[in-house]
């Protein structure tokens, strides 16, 4: 390693206007090289440099679309009829039990904070998905930015050539985007982590490609002055971001083949596992917010079997993600949130499933300075009511922003000039940090 390259790294870092302490720098290099295993020292430095650019916080949202059953995940009730056939298992933290469906998560319980007293009134998928992605209910006339877009806007690295908000696992109705913040904060949506973004190689040489881009830009003017001003402005931004992205060395983050086989194995098999691994790679490259979607949790029918299948898909990857982040020294700066739009009814329906139940459900937080190994809130034995420390959606959102060092009372100005707070009301769940 020579001093010139170090100099270069420092320049990169200070250009972003962020102070880097020598201690952090060395720790990051050590962590990266340790974790990298087969990587060369230079690679490790490079990786660490990228990490340096994002000294700020990052967030990974693990989204369970359809509404996961709290009884079959993090809040089993084995001693009540409503708990059904699901048994509870012990975890690495004595006194805390979770559903038997999550043996891997049980082993990383030290890092998890389970909230068992989430409560809301929205039992409709569309509205609840919107609510749990925005912290607001849909309201005519206001195009709210979603959580990921707000985080990217507040603490995203504008100089990053990768988009600051990536959503893995396909389009999801009502999960939102940049809203009135604009296309800059829309997520880059990937259908699958096993398929890196398509069409990232220009089909002409670089000189010609740039000439084409210039020509394109000059031909956008006519539409811009004849009714398409906003559309053209957005389009220009997109063309620029897309070109920046595909020219960026950070594109490697999308290539899971670059991970050592042993690490890939530790995440397990399947779409969600690949998504979690890519999330870590992206955060490592300075991406601020990554959402990984798991579909199919709307288990009205045959709920126990179907939920077991689903937990089988997410348990190992989620635990591996937390372990991996920790090992790389990234967990302190990366908040991981496990969440769905609501929970499921305590009573088991005649089709052996559970229906929508927003009144009492659960969520999990890890990393980002959150104190793990604890359970916040409780429900009664039947699971029908929150009995301790109710957590409203606004409380939950406020806590996420707080963890990421974002002031939840920060106001954005909507397109009609109306100030809109990131979160309207609510209180930070202080126990998270105790």
């Amino acid at each position: 390693m020579n001093t010139t390259s170090l100099q270069h790294l420092t320049n990169v870092a200070t250009r972003q206007g962020r102070v880097i302490r020598r201690r952090d720098f060395l720790r990051n290099i050590a962590a990266a090289s340790l974790a990298a295993g087969s990587w060369s020292w230079t690679d490790a430095i490079a990786a660490s440099a990228d990490q340096m650019r994002s000294q700020g916080m990052a967030c990974i949202l693990l989204w369970m679309q359809g509404g996961p059953s709290q009884f079959e995940t993090f809040s089993p009730k084995p001693n009540h009829d409503n708990g059904g056939e699901t048994k509870a298992i012990g975890t690495s933290v004595s006194g805390i039990q979770i559903a038997e469906n999550l043996p891997y998560c049980a082993r990383v319980m030290d890092d998890l904070a389970i909230v068992r007293s989430m409560t809301s009134k929205e039992g409709n998928h569309q509205r609840a998905t919107y609510l749990l992605h925005h912290g607001y209910l849909p309201m005519g006339g206001v195009n709210f930015p979603s959580l990921g877009s707000n985080v990217a806007h507040q603490i995203g690295n504008a100089a990053n050539q990768l988009p600051n908000f990536v959503r893995i696992g396909g389009r999801l109705a009502n999960s939102g985007g940049g809203g009135f913040l604009g296309v800059d904060y829309d997520p880059l949506v990937l259908r699958s982590a096993n398929r890196p973004p398509d069409n990232t190689k220009p089909l002409s040489d670089s000189g010609r490609y740039h000439r084409r881009l210039r020509l394109l830009d000059s031909l956008e003017n006519t539409f811009a002055v004849s009714g398409g001003s906003e559309i053209v402005a957005d389009h220009r931004k997109l063309v620029e971001s897309a070109s920046d992205m595909i020219m960026s060395p950070g594109m490697d983050a999308f290539d899971l083949e670059k991970e050592p086989a042993s690490l890939r194995e530790s995440y397990g098999q399947g779409e969600f596992a690949a998504g979690c691994m890519m999330a870590r790679r992206l955060v490592e490259q300075g991406v601020t917010f990554v959402e990984v979607v798991s579909n199919g949790w709307d288990t009205h029918l045959d709920g126990f079997n179907r939920t077991r299948e689903l937990t089988g898909q997410i348990d190992q990857p989620m635990a591996a993600l937390i372990g991996d982040l920790k090992q790389r020294g990234m967990l302190d700066k990366t908040l991981v949130v496990w969440l769905g739009e609501f929970g499921r009814t305590p009573k088991i329906n005649p089709r052996a499933g559970r229906d929508h139940f927003p009144r009492a459900f659960n969520a999990v937080l890890a990393g980002g300075g959150v104190r793990g190994g604890q359970v916040i809130g409780a429900t009664n034995d039947a699971g029908t009511k929150v009995t301790e420390r109710p957590v409203l959606i606004t409380d939950f959102f406020r806590s996420i922003y707080h963890t990421l060092n974002i002031d939840p009372d920060e106001e954005n100005i909507s397109r009609v000039g109306r100030p809109i707070k990131l979160v309207d009301g609510g209180e930070v769940i202080t126990e998270l940090f105790g």
């Binding site: 195009n143 109705a173 398509d198 069409n199 010609r208 031909l219 539409f223 398409g228 088991i348 052996a352």
Partner: protein
Amino acid sequence: MLRVDLFMLLLLLWAPLAKAESPGRLAKRIDQAIQNDVFDEETELAPRTDDYTFVRRAWLDVVGDIPSPEEVTSFVLDPAEDKRETLVARLLADPHFGQNWARYWRDVVFFRAVDERAEIAAGTMETDLTEWLNEGRPWSEIATEFITAHGDVRENGGTAIMMAQDGMTEETTAEVSRIFLGIQIQCAQCHDHPYDRWKREQFHELAAFFPRIAVRPVRDLTSRSFEVIGTDRFGRKPPKNERFPTAEHKMPDLEDPQAPGTQMEPKFFLTSAKVPWGTSDSARRLQLAQWLTENEWFATALVNRMWAELVGEGFYPSVDDIGPDRTTVAPTAVKLLSRKFKESGYDLKWLMKTICQTEAYQRESRPRRETDGTPFVANVPQRLRSDQLYNALLSAFNAPEENPPRGRRPQRPQAAPRGRFAEAFAYDPSINREEAVSSIPQVLALMNSMDVNLLFRGKKGSVLPELIREIKQDEELTTELFLRCLGRVPTSEELEIVKALRQEGMKREVAFEDLAWSLVNSAEFQHRR
């Protein structure tokens, strides 16, 4: 007695014809109503759009494609005063009209599918609906097909909504109400509606028209499919863990979901008309179709949706969330147009003719208004739907469609280039259009995908190399490419830009390939102005 019947029959046959007001006259009345409802003396209206913009707009809106340079030129040169309405009438008679709107409705239905396997029914829906639309069948008849259908989903496109909802009673109910009435009564499924008058009972009474349907797999030696069944035989007890048709719908007890729930009477929430328990599946669904298609919200929902698609903004803020508790920006206009649409016998072509003749439709486009701006002062640029954009790409270079979807026996839609294209470009036509924003993957697909770029290299039947060879004059070739891609001639600045490009010294074909690439990648190409 016989004479009375004959008289009634004549009256019935005559009624729609007699009452369909001429589109031109009604268009004026609609504009007047909007004027009264919305504008004041200070309102600044965008001017009437020029012929270039109009011909491309009408082509995209009616047949979902862009016009050829010959079409554009002859339309612009045509001195006839009524050429705009003549053009719209001609396009409505083209079979691509049916196909364009069948694809639109296919997306309306399948974007809300609960399971990907429902896609198997998409091709058949497109094929059948194309036919129904081209035949000019009334919207009420088409809705009735969708509400009453049964059979193999690859044989009967009317099964699409039920297939998309996996035959589930409550989900099918919600979609029928959303699509045909524009009313989202499903919010009342679990609790009384927060902002509307609907009660939980009313949702489940509507659901009581659909308890006897189910989707079942069909297997024969060569293929697998699904069928929508509607049954009146409930001999054996429904097996656990399987959705099974039931004789009557029961509203679950929220406190005790394992209880059988309350048996609901099939009752139409907008009029409280009901059929007795025990009514056969076919009779109850037919009865619902009749009541629903007679209702004012049935007409209003379609009118509002078509207006939103054509003018860029609906009378209501949303195309599928209207109803008595929502406010409209132009109450007189929407009422008048809806009433006349009903009187026309729910004639969709008539409705399009009428809207296309309004000044509101024919104005120049302006950016979407802010919430406090005045509606309908201009048309609004619309991002092309995936099929429109794909058609435009092929038409701009005279390229034939490769491996087109084969209707009733569809392959996986992604197997064809059109389907792959849709993976990146399709959006749910029911969402508010400002939310259907463009994205990085779309930009990349147009810039860098092989499917698109082969067109510039003269592969896939593209006419580009031939044009470059045959048209010797640079300015003429530039104009040709602008006409092909954007449906207009280049401005003098644009001619200068191309001239400057030519002076950079690369080969002629390279320069014009780059021009074609840039035109296709422009926001203007991807929108209808």
